[in-house]
Amino acid sequence: MKFVSEFRDPEAAKILIAEIEELAADQPARKFMEACGGHTHAIYRHGIESLLPESIEMVHGPGCPVCVIPMGRIDDAISIAEQDGVTMCCFGDLMRVPGGSSTLLEAKAKGADIRVVYSPLDALAIAENEPDRNVVFFAVGFETTAPSTAITVMQARERNVENFSIFCNHVTIVPPMKAILDSPGMELDGFLGPGHVSTVIGTGPYQFVSREYGLPLVTTGFEPVDILQGVAMLLRQLAEGRAEVENQYKRVVRDSGNPAALRMLGEVFELRPHFEWRGLGFIAQSALSLRDEFAGFDAEKHFALPGVRVADPKACQCGEVLKGAIRPWECKVFGTACTPETPIGTCMVSSEGACAAYFNYGRFRAKKRIPVTST
């Protein structure tokens, strides 16, 4: 499987690390936010933090779609799932996200028909194969996954699948980035821009980061070499006094994005006036709902939802972590009351969540070493 090994090439990594060290030596300490959960995971998975100079700190941003789902929405999903004849389909990492009083996993154990799927199209197939079930897909994710939900809804309409609907929780990446940039005490020096989201929306929507806030942003891929190169590009911009939107992930991301996917998004979704984000509160025009033409597939219109806003647990500082104001281990409950087994906050649930990633991979800063090759 090429496409993996060349982006994990130790030689390429060494050259980039040397470049980063050289650039960092002539600069003050820097804080860069990786906006995307995929980056956070890769940084820990490949031990990249242990390779960066101490003066460079990676701050984990709001880009884990599971982590930003507020508890009230989980409760709504559980209440749909518990209704007679309903089959709720969702991605695996949503199962353990805590709602106000329960999780989807607990609801399943108590008898609700909740199934893990790998694509919204799987949920549509279940609806077609089991016409007596009322199948609901719990849709989450940024612009990355929204097109696949859009395609599914369009296919459902084409094929007249009446027992299928979407509980839509799709969100957009730019508003939370703005919210973070506007928050008091913000100390970021630049962004690793989201790679997957950018394959859809392109690099245009991030121009405000450089124009309005004077910060560099580099759209970056998810392999170790990608991330190191992204960091090097940010440092180079700062060294040269530039603040631009650059694209490290050119092999996948076109500056104009994916016009077909964007067209589909526009056809199926519209912006909600506001949407609550876990830890960040309500953000205007930050989420998507189905357009009226697709109201027949909108679970929010089919089911009476409690729609109760559940305040985040007081002890939980997911919001501060998401904003980069504190690091995961600085949270009062990190690793004590809140662990991957018993998560309080969403950052601890998904493997892309900053806290879970730090808990699983990051606690230990090993000495750098040359690997021993086996005989």
């Binding site: 990594a13 998975r45 242990s50 991957p340 699983n360 090993a366 750098k368 690997p371 021993v372 086996s374």
Partner: protein
């Protein structure tokens, strides 16, 4: 013929019918097959004894009487098997039921010798499939050189079980002089894996069909006893062995790190993972370190015995690709740390939760 004669003739016919071995004519399992009567007997004879009957099993006593040779100690283990789907590329629940228990005995340093096989069947289970699974048990038992000496069958109502579950218990014999265990592990020891990892878990996930992925990945289910025996023969001072089944290599290494209170360093560059397994893991966001195996083992040996260990293991088919993947240190006691090819490092922790389907 007098009426007395015809009465005697009738009684003789009844007696002959009563003693006649019962025939298995059903196509599916019914509640009668679990009731302990003629139907149970027919099932036992036609399916189980015909596949792996032997002196002990054929006696049909309530228990097997076994002789333990002088100088040997008994190692005893048990395991339940509920994998879905029941067959997958490279094996079935029948193979697993034997190899799972045999391998637990093997990594304890024992020679797997006797096995009991209990089956829970759901009413309506097809006889043909049961015969195939039981044939797999027989083949795997023969390959592992173990004798099935006890068995049991229960039937539950439709809906009360998912088709069929196996439970096997095994007895192995181990030299009384052998001392192996986490407490023997020392700093600088080498960590060896007997071959590629992640194959079984990935084969089962692919066989479920809900990933819509097509890859040529076969389960590695096999008896590892030949390999553990060859290793112990060549390197009697082998410190510790474990088969990395559920939870994969990561969990086994964590158990070692905690039990021996040592650090386990793993070298990612040396990981033997088949390209389709690493590719599928990459797509699914899984780490092969956490994916199950059913025909591999991890061994810790003294650093100066690595060549002898690898030589002996590589001479056996099932461990032909044995390789060193790590070492024991005192830098991070109780913790497993993987070193990435470009010098980064990360903690490899115990698996939390169970996002994956039933795999064994």
């Amino acid at each position: 013929m007098s009426s007395e004669d015809s009465r005697k003739e009738a009684l003789a016919r009844i007696e002959a019918w009563r003693l006649r071995p019962s025939k298995m004519t059903d196509e599916v399992i019914t509640m009668a097959h679990g009731a302990g009567g003629k139907a149970s007997q027919a099932l036992t004879d036609a399916v189980f004894r015909s596949a792996y009957g032997g002196d002990e099993l054929d006696r049909l006593d309530d228990g097997a009487v076994l002789d333990v040779p002088e100088g040997k100690r008994v190692v005893f283990t048990t395991d339940a098997f509920v994998v879905t789907p029941r067959t997958f590329l490279g094996g079935s629940i029948g193979d697993l039921a034997v190899n799972g228990t045999v391998n637990d005995l093997a990594v304890m340093g024992a020679t797997p010798t006797w096995l009991s096989v209990a089956v829970v069947l759901e009413e309506g289970f097809p006889l043909d499939e049961l015969r195939e699974l039981v044939a797999d048990v027989a083949t795997a038992a023969a390959a592992a050189n173990v004798t099935v000496v006890a068995g049991d069958t229960k039937v539950v109502e439709r809906g009360a079980a998912d088709g069929c579950y196996f439970t096997t218990s095994g007895i192995g014999l181990r030299d009384a002089s052998l001392s192996m265990g986490a407490e023997q592990v020392q700093l600088g020891d080498a960590v060896i894996i007997s071959g590629t990892f992640g194959d079984h878990g990935m084969a089962v996930m692919l066989a479920r069909g809900d990933l819509a992925l097509d890859a040529d990945v076969s389960s590695d289910t096999a008896s590892i006893h030949q390999a553990t025996a060859a290793l112990l023969d060549a390197v009697p001072e082998t410190r510790w062995m474990r088969d990395p089944t559920r939870g994969g290599v990561a969990s086994a290494c964590n158990e070692l790190a905690v039990a021996a209170n040592v650090g386990v360093s793993l070298f990612e560059e040396a990981f033997p993972v088949l390209p389709p397994v690493s590719g599928a893991c990459e797509l699914l966001g899984l780490d092969p370190l956490y994916v199950a195996n059913e025909g591999k083992f991890i061994a810790v040996v003294p650093a100066d015995r690595v060549d002898a260990a690898l030589g002996s293991m590589r001479s056996v088919d099932v461990s032909a690709q044995a390789t060193v993947i790590g070492e024991i240190n005192d830098e991070h006691p109780g913790m497993v740390v993987a070193h990435t090819p470009f010098g980064g490092s990360r903690i490899v922790d115990m698996l939390v939760g169970a996002p994956l389907p039933r795999i064994c």
